[in-house]
């Protein structure tokens, strides 16, 4: 498959279901005390991760953010090592050093989720610089929220990508919330206006329509590869849960994912049914995802805790651990 090929809608459904089931399980594990720290879920936003990542090839790189589980899984991160990491185990993909906010996988070009809002932007720009210098034809993509548009490094990154015509796909997941504050109170300009002011071609789409996301991302990635230069895609979406798990959300009315007309999974399922896809195939996406998550969680629960000495040895590549 080349990145320009369209991914079948049923496969997009499977990716979204995997993200949904993985995150709902994480929520349960977090509530039960099996996931330490804190986690940020992307429930309701799965269409963006699934649609965009299906437009990327294996050589394309991806920088993400604190709400990055979906991006990582859609890019092809191993599910067992994903759970092992977030549950803090030695065999986690980051050996239990990063956790939820730092899932990364060099094997699939996943440059890492990131705990600092906006930090992924210049990292993707630098990755795109490497693709350009090496003439690899690869594209660097970066997911960030509307909240990141208020960071100064957004301007620096857009500007640098534009003047150097770097192969970057900037994907803004606009869920309307900058942590606990509505974006309307946070941003003076619209996301696309910010991109366009840097002479970056920008599109804004319904991010809860995974087919629309996929088609738009494919078109923009294709343009980046053929014409060069960055592109910007705003995906308007819905953050169903709080900023973090446990967020009492006193600042907003609750969103019920299951009943939401906007839920990207429900929307695609209805569309597939209308198109005559057998109900068993649609249902199998959910059943298979749950089975995979069950197996991964069982495996992660059995994983060993990381050792402190191994962590101390990995601060540098080639030096002994120091006190």
């Amino acid at each position: 498959m080349t990145a320009a090929d369209s991914v079948a809608p049923l496969d997009l459904l499977r990716t979204m279901r995997l993200i949904r089931e993985a995150e709902l399980r994480l929520a349960q594990l977090f509530a039960d005390g099996e996931v330490p720290g804190f986690i940020h879920l992307s429930v309701g936003q799965e269409g963006v991760a699934a649609g965009v990542c299906a437009a990327l090839g294996p050589a394309d790189t991806l920088a993400s953010n604190h709400r990055g589980h979906g991006h990582a899984l859609a890019k092809g991160l191993d599910l067992e090592r994903f759970f092992l990491e977030i549950m803090g185990k030695a065999e986690g993909m980051c050996k239990g050093r990063g956790g939820s906010m730092h899932v990364a996988d060099a094997a699939v070009g996943m440059l890492g989720a990131n705990g600092i809002v906006g930090a992924g932007l210049p990292i993707a720009v630098g990755s795109a610089l490497a693709h350009q210098v090496k003439k690899s034809g690869a594209v660097a993509a970066v997911f960030f929220g509307d909240g990141a548009l208020a960071e100064g490094v957004m301007h620096e990154s857009f500007n640098l990508a534009s003047i150097w015509r770097l192969p970057v796909l900037f994907v803004c997941e606009n869920n309307g919330w900058s942590e606990f504050s509505p974006t309307a109170r946070q941003l003076a300009a619209t996301p696309t206006a910010l991109a366009e002011s840097h002479k970056i071609i920008a599109r804004s789409i319904d991010g809860n329509d995974v087919i629309a996301v996929h088609d738009a991302a494919r078109a923009l990635v294709s343009e980046i590869r053929s014409a060069g230069g960055p592109r910007f895609l705003e995906c308007r979406t819905t953050r169903v849960r709080g900023h973090f798990e446990g967020d009492p959300q006193k600042y907003r009315d609750a969103v019920d994912a299951a009943r939401s007309e906007d839920d990207p999974i429900g929307r695609l399922e209805r569309r597939l049914a209308a198109d005559g896809v057998p109900a068993a195939d649609i249902k199998s996406a959910e059943r298979d995802a749950i089975a995979r998550v069950d197996a991964a969680v069982a495996r992660a629960r059995a994983g060993a805790a990381p050792t402190f000495d191994a962590a101390l040895r990995d601060v540098y590549a080639n030096t002994e651990a120091r006190p």
Binding site: E85, R97, A104, A106, L111, L129, E156, N159, D314
Partner: protein, 324 residues
């Protein structure tokens, strides 16, 4: 053996590294067409082309942030922040991203990147263009920090930094750029973390780095006229620093002075003093004395900055104090 200026030695190191490895790229403010604010990157654009040698906008956060992404994607970026003072604008990329990537991603990514930071110098550049902030960076696990003091080390440490698989900060003292010295035709490999005995002596150890190496040597010459033989240890690398060499010198002299241009309080000298007070306690026959800048911003006026920067007299006085 040829005589070149300190800045030219860095230039030669950059050119040799770029010739040897096409994944080495250079970017920063005015480093390409203008040849760098201090002329260090002059000629590299012509030799290696606009793909690998690039002028950036005035965007310190994106310069270092892009270096992180480039290093994670197969390049060996060497970036310059025009004055070390401006690294305040790059700190997220350095502290939260570059320093932690290897560790927090479980060793999946190497970050072979170099950030060149001109510091200090006593050139009347005022409070925002003169600071020595290396202790901040040496405090962050995951970063390496080197600070060459000689022409040969300017070359060798720059090459070592580029060859290193971890992010390395190369701190260059602005007062040294024009200093001439010998650059051997065939450079020995320098290991990051090894100190150099700049002058042997039996009576007291002066641990120093960067521009204070020459000032410490001048202090040692003055002390020698009074029959005091001071050993000058040039750290060359601040993170990691050569604890073994400093302890060995202390074991020879039993007196320790630490001299740097940076503010004395909470500086590199504080770390060295604390470690030697611990592992070298039995060797000490006098107080550990630090010489550094006073706890104030770097002042502009000549008379003010001249008194602000440590000089040979202050270092010699510190040696006499620990011998008293």
């Amino acid at each position: 053996m040829s005589e070149v200026r300190f800045g030219q030695a860095i230039n030669r190191a950059l050119a040799d590294a770029m010739a040897a490895d096409e994944s080495v790229v250079l970017f920063g403010e005015d480093v390409a067409a203008p040849g760098g604010p201090f002329g260090v990157t002059r000629g590299l654009l012509d030799r290696f082309g606009a793909e690998r040698v690039r002028d950036t906008p005035i965007s310190e956060a994106a310069i270092v942030g892009a270096a992180v992404g480039a290093a994670m994607s197969g390049l060996k970026p060497v970036v310059e922040i025009m004055f070390m003072d401006f690294v305040t604008l790059s700190m997220d990329a350095l502290v939260n991203q570059a320093a932690k990537a290897r560790f927090m991603f479980g060793g999946q990514y190497a970050l072979p990147m170099v950030v060149r930071l001109p510091h200090g110098g006593g050139i009347n550049a005022g409070p925002q263009h003169s600071q020595c902030l290396e202790a901040w960076l040496a405090h962050v696990p995951g970063l390496k920090v080197v600070c060459p003091a000689t022409v040969a080390d300017a070359y060798a440490l720059t090459r070592a930094a580029i060859a290193d698989p971890d992010p390395v900060i190369v701190v260059e003292n602005k007062s040294l750029y024009a200093v001439k010295g010998e650059l051997p035709e065939s450079m020995p490999n320098v290991t990051i973390g090894k100190a150099d005995i700049a002058r042997p002596g039996r009576d007291a150890t002066i641990v120093t780095y960067g521009a204070m190496r020459d000032v410490s040597l001048a202090a040692a010459s003055a002390l020698a006229k009074d029959g005091i033989e001071a050993e000058v240890v040039d750290l060359r690398s601040l993170q990691p620093w050569d604890e073994t060499a400093v302890l060995a010198s202390l074991a020879r002299t039993h007196r320790l002075v630490i001299a740097h241009e940076a503010v004395e309080a909470f500086g590199i000298g504080a770390e060295i003093a604390a470690r030697m007070a611990d592992i070298g306690f039995d060797e000490l026959d006098g107080p550990i004395v630090r010489v550094g800048a006073p706890f104030m911003p770097v002042p502009f006026a000549k008379e003010l900055e001249a008194r602000y920067r440590p000089d040979a007299t202050r270092i010699a006085d510190a040696v006499r104090r620990t011998l008293a």
